[in-house]
Symmetry: C2
Subunit: 200 residues, 2 copies
């Protein structure tokens, strides 16, 4: 028996849910909308909604796809035109783009944070495509730096992991809102920090 495809009604519902959620989120903010409300507005049952997206987090992750692909495009564009530059220079540009992205999408990123870090069945943010993309890119740049002799060899994977983790929305939100730093200031601090970190 062949693999069944997604049923047409299911596909239609998927689109309706995504559209409805997107609209509601933009109108009331991510926190201001409940799953029940999304289901009701979309004209589907709670069960139908939860079948696809087991939390608001997953729903947001899906909705982030577009903006994230715009981010990766901008990164690719940047790296293409920075092809001749040192790894150090590339890192600076990449960190800058990444922080711009986080600041732009902070509300969404905040929402996809898993509510229970330690739950056994949680799907880790650390294994989400966006996170893996950033760590992968960072590791590539750091590896290039090592190959080019710009810096002595080290555990680039762990470094990329830790650096990426430090961009989390929580930290960013605190620095901008509670500490009153501007996005540019935060960017400058991180760039300086990682520059020193990897190229001291």
């Amino acid at each position: 028996m062949q693999q069944r495809n997604e049923r047409k009604d299911a596909a239609r519902h998927r689109e309706i849910i995504l559209d409805t959620a997107s609209q509601l989120f933009h109108e009331y903010g991510v926190e201001g909308v409940s799953m029940h409300q999304i289901a009701k507005s979309a004209g589907v049952g709670q069960g139908t909604l939860y079948r696809r997206y087991s939390s608001k987090a997953e729903l947001c992750l899906e909705l982030l796809t577009d903006s994230f692909s715009r981010f990766t495009s901008s990164v690719e564009r940047y790296l293409a035109e920075a092809a001749g530059r040192s790894a150090r220079g590339k890192l600076e540009g990449f960190v800058s783009l990444a922080i711009d992205y986080v600041s732009r999408e902070i509300e969404w990123l905040n929402a996809i944070k898993p509510s229970e870090w330690c739950a056994e069945d949680r799907t880790s943010v650390f294994e989400s495509d966006p996170f893996l993309y950033v760590t992968g890119m960072l590791k590539a740049i750091l590896d290039e730096a090592v190959v080019k002799g710009e810096t002595p060899p080290f555990d680039t994977e762990f470094a990329a992991f830790t650096a990426t983790a430090s961009f989390n929305p929580s930290t960013f939100f605190y620095l901008t809102k509670d500490r009153g730093c501007s996005v540019e200031e935060v960017k400058a601090k991180f760039v300086q920090y990682y520059d020193r970190l990897f190229f001291a």
Copy 2:
């Protein structure tokens, strides 16, 4: 009129709540106990419980006091006997102790994470005593390193902040549970990372 002190019945309830919560948490785990259950077991109303602790997070933070003061003692003891060593050496020891602490108390630390990072009224973990203690200590060690000429001057405050934030339970849990690293491995990675970071 003089400042009213806490009423005796209120103080009694505070203790009962703390004792009950502690007991229930140890029996069923932090996630396995609801605020309602705590209130009921303690023999107080929901309102009474929430009056003092507006979330499980706050309750856990209060319960962490003891273990955290044991941690600070161990740090103080360590720094006393390491008085003659380099700042670099002190950093290594401190990071090691801090990671030991996180790994021991991970369930509690997980619970005190604010559920909404971006809420306007949230009391930031970054302003909690434990966090401030660690950043303060880290900054002091880094400043010492700069003064002693072990490393060129840099923004030690931001560095301490970022480093402390990177110890968050989420990261730690991922590395140990999902990646299968042992506590010792994680410790070694962090020590190496920060050693390179600040003393490259």
